[in-house]
Symmetry: D2
Subunit: 409 residues, 4 copies
């Protein structure tokens, strides 16, 4: 790789990415463009502008954007149409944010004439893979600089030394090492590392940041209604809202009731197991709601196919292949299935659980009380049909059993 | 079908199967053998003997058996090795019991020289399919009599008339129609029909039979440890127990904490949607525990393959294909994966939720703190490897992006 | 089912469907509408009009249509995008024609005010299922009459008697039983039954109808070029042609070179195995060509996903679920993958085989000689990347091996 | 990596691996152990011993082994039970040999106290991945040296210079560059590179090494019978043979009739497409035969599951994951399915094609002429069963169609 001349950096304004910013300037002598996105992580963005300016970034090279609606509409919601869970449980809150950040990095690179992008992910994790696969999929010529894989600032001490040497302001509470590492966006907060590294040990209370403990949640359940159109949530309690507003509101509701905590050991794409504590309050409510509305609006054939495709779909997102032909193929199939996933779900929120307790749809329900009823069904269903249905499903099993008698005597 | 001479009936001792017993005698003039199994449904079996005798069954034709250990060891546990959930949520409590009953029906038919078996499932449901596919798979010559598909006793009134006409004792509370229909065994209780037929309406409290409402569960969480060997639970809080004892104990614990309630609309194999209320207290705890121990003992490749096979496996059990070559193939694959699923899980039970909060295994863990640590890893992992890993994973994506530029200009 | 008043019959003009026509009139006293389609079976259609008239069908109730273009464009080509092979070998020539016939039957029923449709498939085969599932999927109210499942004309003798009794003209060669049964359309000819029923016995030469024996094919190979756009064949040897014209031309070429014969024992949806002799000359050439162009234009991720979906897709078509949500979901995924499957394939046709011997695409190829070359690649590919790629792919395998050492000593 | 002290080298005796041998000695100053295996590549092995001795290898460090039976019995045959084809067409002849070589390398390392193994695969291909993943999966501590990724002998000129400098004998015909690269074993010969790098150009005749051109094959077809037991070929024309003997014999037969040539562009695991010419004469015959015997002995449920698993299984082998938990899980499933795949197949070999023309099995056939016959079936099959079978399969489709009417008007 030839040395980059201009680099777009995913910049949070925090100490680590400030060090990266300076390191890029000193190591490569290159111009740095900073990109700071609001994905709902719950931090002010304007301080990042000031810090970037202090570090010598030209105003026209500072990009600060609110991507919350795009994030939920074009990434989170399509993923939830699939009921995606990685390894049975993880709602992919970090994974789904990375491709959007990379997309903007690459677009800003094109806009500013930069030849490289850079990120603050380490060489051990999944995020480096997600950032970089997305970037390369969008621009095959782009260079990606991953300082954590390159530099020799591998310890906290060296980082602080570097910061001090280069007059990077260090907040008091950042001098010591954080007891664990955090990533957050509108979908979730993840915590990992340090005090969480022993998967046998229960995560300490102070790790949790956006959900109350179920024990501290209200003693009375709360009931809400979530409306869906074509597989996406469109309203809460009858009030229409934008995608990001809905997720924000569900986060409040879920967080208040202690919903969406997950203590999880997962398999990273790079080959090791890691332990994470995830909080996905709104997403957990949304998944339960989406499953509820699918129960009455999705056909069995479509639903079973979807279920069988989901693990692969979730793995692709986890591994960083959002921008890949196979993810797009699966999305086409999933989106096709959602055309009639329209209706309303009633949920009970209580002490850590969101449970669907009712679902209805004026025009899109496939549930037929006429067929299923224990009462007289007026001929909707002819029970004698079951005889032939069973006989023909059994035919091959009978032929197998007859063979077993021949071969096993 | 020629008229059967001797029929083995799955007999509960209740009103419905007593009517069937009598109907078989009068309609076909055949000898009836009764088979009553304890699968953990929580009812005394000896009254069934007395009732059978009253209805004229010879003592040598009355079979009463405790199948709880076989049920859990050979059916429930193998299924839980797969983390099987039908349509994302249902733990298959009814489905998994049917093949065992059919197996014993067919075996008793062979032993007593009977040429047919009979069951009390209706022509609308899945259970008829499960009973009959299992029976035919085990004996291709057996006849199956499904009175509900044959007779004209389709209403409660006619059933009561028939019972009275044939001096079948009718318990007072059985004269009227039950407000919903129930099936129970050691794994779960299911309720459906009548008052539950509108999926928009919340299930009334009186439907629930073996779990307290989360609101009524203890205000303090309870922590338990479940030990696993080769994928099966073998101990609770360090105490070794038999399979059925473990499930019984987990049912107590789960039921006490309001765990395992499910309000669900599912797709029946016969083509319609139906709504069921399921209570699977012990099974819900067991699933969470099994997932927890797999997190540290199951390899990513094995785990992802298992996840992708699970929906098909669950569908096969739901549809009644337990005794089929494809279920056995999947079981062989799943069992192969469980050889090292050995260790202990710590769970928190609280107000409707079972959550894994710790897991460990002395010899079988694949979790490597040496690799994953945020601390200095002493060379366990070389971060520069990630560069090549990403580059080669990205290569095809770059080639795709380059093509897009050519074709889209 | 209440008796139908007006029935649209899939009518070939042959003896069997003429008997059905008359039987519908006499058995149900209903008005009959005939529908005769040219799907490329190679028979004149106008004689069917005359026969229908002789049997008393009103001119306005006789529908004769050339559906060849629609058949290839909307059914055959979409299926070939998937490289669909049932049970590894069968190109689904009969299966893919049935939904189109049903679609027109249902549409003509709507147009003529008929309340039922009827077909000449027996109760043992797959075609009854395909006709009827398609019909019900398009009109849930339609009735389907399957005379072979209803009447008592189960033997040749009875059929002939019925025909004679009702003055149905009988061609001389139809008095005796045909030595096997044939179905044909533009995609294939299938033969089964009678002399073919022993799967150990080689099919006699006289069974084959549209391919020469490879031994009788030309002694010189013929080379052709097939052009593709977005997954569909659009030209032969540089000449643009319509879908049906292309398949017709490929049939000529394949048939001349003895290509596309298949002796096959398959699993019918209704539970039994059957043996068929299939001739799919053009389809066999087309499949080889399509695979050839995909080799350079389809990405690995897309291709492998497609391969894994194909068996399910083929099974759905075989079983009659063309008009189902899950087939449409899979089609959406498959079609998405074909957007860049554009280019040209060179094939060698010789003595029973079609083999791809070259493929190219001006803009859509993903093949990069720069990357793959054994020569100096000017930095297109950095071989040291493979080191990290292998190390991270190996990491979990090493952790597994280390565990094995611990547990197995 | 610390420098290795003793290395086991996969040594063919040819120029390239002789250069590697010397390079290991000079670069690392380490002791070299050579391992030369007969996998049926058709070369004498003893010359390799002499060459190794000339290059200074101690006699006790020279390992020469005939692995043909193990290769076919434990690798080729298990793979053929799956009907494995990579990307629809490639029979994995190179992929399946690598894990066996690695297994012996690692075993010999343990036996001789070596701390590393080495191979002659380049950094662009799949073989490096296969060798190394297998080695690491069997010994997590082993080091692997891949000279082609390390040294600077990247051109033919430099290699020859190195050889001359170190007195490595150079056969005359090895001075110039070969026009393409070859790999061979008992299953296949593959050729790639150089003159084959343009996938639009037909491969020249001189590339083919073990099959005659179909045009040059006998003008008369040859019929053979292959016997199977539990999924493996055990006899040809009634004569029982060992696995390697069977494959050798099928190679002769296939090669003589021009069978098994494949011109293929595939997706390498490392991310690029490459073009190969494969000759797999015996394997192609074996695949056709195995499919033929499965047609009558394998149940539909088992067969369809197998078909759906096959692409993943083939991908795993291609990518080098033979020794992985997921390959072993799939193998367990596949092997389970083969328990009754016993019987005999009749094949026609002619001008490039092997086609099954008959198959039978005394006890293991599931084909029931009684059920499928067009003749009177004496009640084996009740055609009226099809009515109910279709109705219940159609039920959900009708409910969907009814919804479409509601929503689409």
């Amino acid at each position: 790789m030839t040395a980059p001349k201009k680099v777009v950096l995913a910049y949070s304004g925090g100490l680590d990415t400030s060090i990266i910013l300076k390191w890029l300037q000193t190591e490569y002598g290159c111009e740095v463009v900073t990109f700071t996105a609001d994905l709902g992580q719950g931090e002010e963005l304007e301080p990042a502008r000031k810090k970037a300016e202090i570090l010598g970034i030209k105003p026209e090279n500072i990009f600060i954007e609110d991507l919350r609606e795009e994030f939920v509409r074009d990434f989170v919601f399509p993923m939830f149409r699939a009921n995606a869970e990685y390894e049975g449980l993880y709602l992919l809150g970090t994974s789904i944010a990375r491709p959007l950040i990379s997309k903007r990095l690459v677009e800003i690179a094109a806009q500013t004439g930069a030849d490289a992008v850079s990120h603050g992910a380490t060489g051990k994790g999944n995020d480096q893979v997600r950032f970089e696969l997305a970037a390369y999929a969008l621009n095959p010529e782009i260079a990606v600089i991953a300082p954590w894989r390159e530099w020799d600032l591998g310890s906290r001490t060296k980082l602080i030394e570097f910061a001090e040497k280069h007059q990077i302001p260090i907040a008091k509470d950042k001098r010591g090492e954080a007891p664990f590492s955090v990533d957050a966006n509108l979908l979730h907060t993840s915590s990992e590392g340090k005090v969480l590294e022993d998967p046998a040990e229960m995560a300490p209370d102070y790790v949790f940041q956006r959900t109350v403990a179920p024990e501290d949640a209200p003693n009375e359940p709360e009931f809400i209604e979530v409306g869906f159109e074509r597989g996406d949530a469109v309203s809460i309690n009858g009030e229409a809202m934008s995608p990001a507003t809905i997720l924000t509101k569900l986060n409040e509701l879920g967080g208040k009731h202690g919903i969406g905590r997950l203590d999880f050991v997962e398999n990273r794409f790079v080959g090791m197991k890691s332990r994470g504590i995830y909080e996905t309050p709104g997403g957990t409510v949304l998944l339960e709601a989406h499953r509820g509305i699918e129960q009455i609006t999705l056909d069995a054939g479509a639903g079973h196919l979807k279920d069988s495709l989901m693990p692969r779909y979730a793995e692709l997102i986890y591994n960083g292949f959002w921008f890949s032909p196979e993810r797009e193929m699966l999305q086409a199939a999933i989106d096709k299935s959602q055309e009639n996933v329209t209706g309303t779900v009633r949920l009970k929120l209580y002490k850590g659980s969101a449970t669907c307790v009712g679902r209805w749809s004026e025009n899109h329900s496939l549930y037929s009380e006429a067929h299923v009823t224990f009462e007289e069904d007026m001929g909707a269903y002819d029970q004698t049909d079951a005889q032939g249905f069973i006989q023909l499903n059994a035919l091959r099993l009978k032929l197998l059993a007859a063979r077993d008698r021949r071969t096993k005597g």
